[in-house]
Symmetry: D3
Subunit: 285 residues, 6 copies
């Protein structure tokens, strides 16, 4: 059964969905009085640009008819999260009473358009590094309240998730290193409090830092804002011994160059903090 | 007392803030174990691009020291929501224990960067129509959960808010008109159920629709996806008799041309659904 | 399909309903142990006084059988919110297991009786001004937590809603005027921050204030606690130019006299802050 | 320290208070832009009718200045919940910035006026039975969401609380008796599942029912809709052996007659479902 | 219809259930990607030790298939809360997609194992006092968040509930007595504020205290940490005049001796604060 | 500043604390009426058994005086989470009004006693494996609603946390392996969807499974219910190449034997599902 979601699906979206509906509805939509509650209409959502769809499962859930609506009402899913589609593709359609449709239309589109925007931008980055063995990963620079959904959208676009938050992975930055006295001390202390299944990453800005982090036992090393030549040297020394992640202002224009240094992963904040919505609209016929 | 906010401030942001913190913290940040809880550090947030700041009140609230932190801890606000600043401007600074700083840093920046992105894009549109008597207004195409905050950011950027949601204004679209039988019927029915302080807007796509909407008593008329010449004609006939709002895919490139037709307002969905984050970072010194 | 509601229905009542059920149930009803969970009974709710019904949609939702109840269970709706009924009218009936019925009975009646009380009182005011072209409108003097529901009850009783809250309309009172320096200044400032679809009302206590408010561009003028002769004079001058709303301690005895001055609307706080419940009871047969 | 509350204070009101504020504020009050945020004003709340005050603790909490308001701001409590006051009494006063005052004024008054209405009506019933040893008790016919607060208002007015809900006392009605087969069976079954500190009351409509309930071990007997002569007879037989509670449509006109039968308690639904608000207003000086 | 619950069922568990699921799922289970969402499997839960089952209704609710799962999915209940079962008993079985099963398995078992642990320990205490007319009652020493559920488990194990919390019964302890001046004063004051259906218990540590509490009108007397001989004397004097409850460190080894003194009830904190889980596991076949 | 917590502290406990207070308080404690609200008392919490303290930070937060309590009120922390203390140790003391103390006492003790119980049991396991290089780790068999707190208690007792939930680590069990076809397939598929910082553990019951899991790239191998000789053999082959975790019904009696096989970690469900409370009480002096 196609429920629109790409597995593993995100958690917690039902609550966010109703929050968004509440924002829009407030005390209610007075125009619902214009409609006969027994007269349903056919509707569909169509893309107006090409890109990767994300949010179909959420929208399908939202537009499903409630118990007191006419029996002819239903919802049909024509794609799946993660599908790349052309402009003019019908991705979701159904039949619903106009009063309900109007109270759901904008919110449903807002989810679809913004998550598809993240998936599409991720897909563009992934396309840029085609044939290279590198992962495009996201960051914690997500929209407040939408982290799980945006990270799901990244997966739909072909990207990989970095840690979800502060709780499921350890990233040691300059602050930690300064507080502990050295990279070695920081890694040791972190290891002593880390949970049983927690990896340690160290943010490094120089060859020396990378060397110390590797010796201290870091499992991932972030090459932060390094120039490609230095990255390339480090990759030559450490490839296969530790996971190497490039980070820092990488764009669609520069990502392939960074990937060619041989790093294992490239993290891109823009995937979630600066993606444009994918255009689509809901029509009644 | 400068609390960072531009009045009228948005409501409900405290809840969203803690939701975002919870997303990031989950079960907790194990690296807090690396820090001495009595040793505070100085920090500041600096812009890395030029734009209009929004979210300072939220960030100032977030970074304020809690009751059990050292007495030297505090937060200082160096700007106000709505200020246009250059790259390299320190907009917020303070003193906090590193453990707390780390659990707040990313979330604080996420709010500041994304709201400032909306304010900055709005400001760019407003700049484009300088010296013309037209308002740049937002839409309901907002990020789920952030509507009030994004609409506040639009105000900070010099824009004006359209209705907040379905509840505080009536917009009659093709669906309403079809259900009622005609624009005239739709406006009449809407008026009969409208609250005491509710305005009615009709979405029109032709001269005929505008004529009928005006006669029916619509108080605002949306000129939806019209070409500028038709808009110009309509403005000549109706300016001052009814509020005229242009809408439909208007960009930074096209907005001045649309404004020159003489419409009263131009609504732009991109303000909230496709703004890029404004770059900034938090440093410890 | 009659779901009991009068459109446009209020929003957010499901949450309030479960809050009320939780208040009543607490840790549970020990007397449910007296009943056989497979043996359902027939029940009905009957009015014990005449009035306008409100809350049927909520009650019908509440008394609908849950998934694990016998198949014979159901709920039947015999009226619609807004109907005026005689004492002894069966407005809702059904079949349910006694254990469930007992845990829902009191809460269901509390909603029906109190909302019908508001609708009935509103109806009485509306009847008093029959044949006069004036609207009876409510205020913000509502019961905490029940604003949307009470304002819905006002609509069911034939009244019209004033603004829902501080957010969807601007009312300028003495405080605002004093702060701004004058009515003119207050209206100008309010206009400059008002959203795109927001009306401005000014509370006036004298002819001079009305004159200034009108000139400043107020769209609604409240005649606050004015004597009927002054009201009548003002109506003669301003009828049709601006919306005129009478307010201040108006009762069932005085409302017709106020209406005869020709004002467009009369706002009555008592509709929501002092309505008596409409008597009704639930019987099992 | 007078915090306005009468002990034992109700629980859970802080949440309801913020719910009410949220209902009123929605996306925010645009008129706050008219006020200078550093310029506070003096305000006071004055009664406009005589009655028993309730809700002072809540209102005092609401109007207390927040951390970012000028230092001169404060709140002063001039009475205590449960005080009987004359019209024109100042019960609360303070100093606050106008923007904050406006966003709190209506909600604060709504709580004070409605809870004082309940306390005042209770007080009127209590006065009617002066010098008689009988308690005026409330019922479960409360306003959804306000049960604890209304039951607190009843205590402030000199009344006594019946059970809070289905959970803290057992009331056996016709449904229970029918299901169990007899009053005796119902009481026995209830006793077997009752908690360790739970009393059992039986609703009786005849002498025979009272006799059986007493023999079965009921600890409280409700005399439901009985005529005063029968009540009087039953009191003669059972006074001191079991608690006797009169119930059913008792009004201010009839309550003294009922009390004179010698019953221990009289329950009155109107205390909470049909009390009028006590008039009061907030003024700035 | 067997829904697994023993009536009267606890309230509020649905919320706790979803809280627990959220704790476990967080941002989601990545391993769901390994399963075909259309291919369901058969599962069952089997006890691994003997004891009293509790939580079946909750688990049955949790494992029921959601709307988008294959039609073959279902859940079967093979026992009822309160049943005593042998090791190796299948208590619940069903058919579900593996992805859903994995996200529910641990939480379902956690509820079943811990509530069955409480029910089993209660049962062991009840067995120890077989043939004696004494109730085993619980205390307020419950696990935070699980009070209603644990008190329900006590009922399933054959125990009786003491008060649910501070709100539904009055227990006067040394603090109350000291503040009031004497037991007599404390009981009088408590009676004056007590609700209409509230019993008063006094905690006593000596013969003198018991005497005074009885005279003051206490309805229940707790014999706190008394030696059995003194308890026995007090029982001889007061049996049938007042409810006598023994309390204080009573174990499975000592409970029968305490019961033989003739007290009416024995309260045991360990029922809820120190019960071991009942072992069981979920298998797929 | 000692705030009682051991870093890294758990998240989310404030909400659980107030849930627990609400469970206990319900509609309120009527006995607060017995106390003078201006007269505070001194109190302290004393252990009645030896063990490791956990929950001091929570209790200190709970018992801190509120704004309207007398100035003499305060709270003093005499230990820190993770301290091992003797019976009779005062761990927390303070001064508070009796009304507040009574509404907080039971809940504060419930948290302290139950979390200290988990910490103490963990400590006992850790002591048993003294001088051996092995970690005692917890499981997902936690009390619903208390996972983060119980896992914190495990850390306080000297244990290490396994994954927090399904979201922050991948554990492949028989279900996954069957669905994927083989261990190798399961690990490959899991790796392809795993986040950037996620480790993979495979549950193995035989030498063959361990061999395949290692080859497939599992980073942790669980030796599930294996006999110690087999474990010992596997440790000899794989020590240092992969993390080895023993699991399955390990008790205080058997844990040292298991540790002596040389495994890296031993997971024990009983730490969180079957710990007894640590006895302590609150006294007023």
């Amino acid at each position: 059964m196609n429920n629109g979601f790409k597995q593993p699906a995100p958690e917690g979206w039902v609550e966010i969905l109703w929050t968004a509906i509440a924002e829009d509805l407030g005390s209610g939509d007075p125009t619902t009085a214009l409609f006969d509650e027994d007269q349903a209409v056919n509707w569909y959502i169509e893309t107006q640009a090409e890109g990767v769809i994300c949010g179909l499962g959420i929208a399908a859930y939202l537009f499903q008819p409630e118990a007191d609506e006419p029996e002819s009402c239903q919802v049909d899913i024509h794609a799946r999260d993660g599908d790349f589609v052309k402009p003019g593709t019908t991705i979701l359609s159904g039949r619903l009473t106009p009063a309900k449709l109007l109270t759901k239309e904008r919110t449903g589109l807002n989810f679809l358009m913004q998550l598809s925007g993240v998936a599409t931008l991720t897909h563009q980055f992934v396309q840029k590094v085609a044939n290279l063995s590198v992962k495009i990963v996201d960051t914690r620079k997500t929209t407040p309240g939408l982290r799980y959904l945006q990270k799901y959208a990244v997966r739909c676009g072909g990207g990989t998730n970095h840690r979800m938050g502060l709780y499921d992975g350890i990233m040691l930055k300059d602050n930690h290193i300064r507080a502990a006295g050295s990279i070695t001390e920081a890694v040791n202390k972190a290891r002593s409090v880390a949970g049983h299944m927690t990896l340690i990453e160290v943010e490094c800005e120089s060859q020396e830092m990378v060397d110390e982090a590797y010796k201290a036992g870091a499992q991932i090393i972030m090459l932060d804002n390094m120039d490609p030549f230095l990255m390339h040297d480090i990759v030559k020394q450490y490839k296969g011994k530790v996971v190497l992640e490039a980070s820092g202002g990488i764009t669609l224009d520069t990502v392939r160059g960074v990937a060619q240094t041989g790093v294992d992963a490239i993290s891109v904040g823009a995937l979630t903090h600066s993606a444009k919505s994918l255009a689509m609209h809901l029509e009644v016929n």
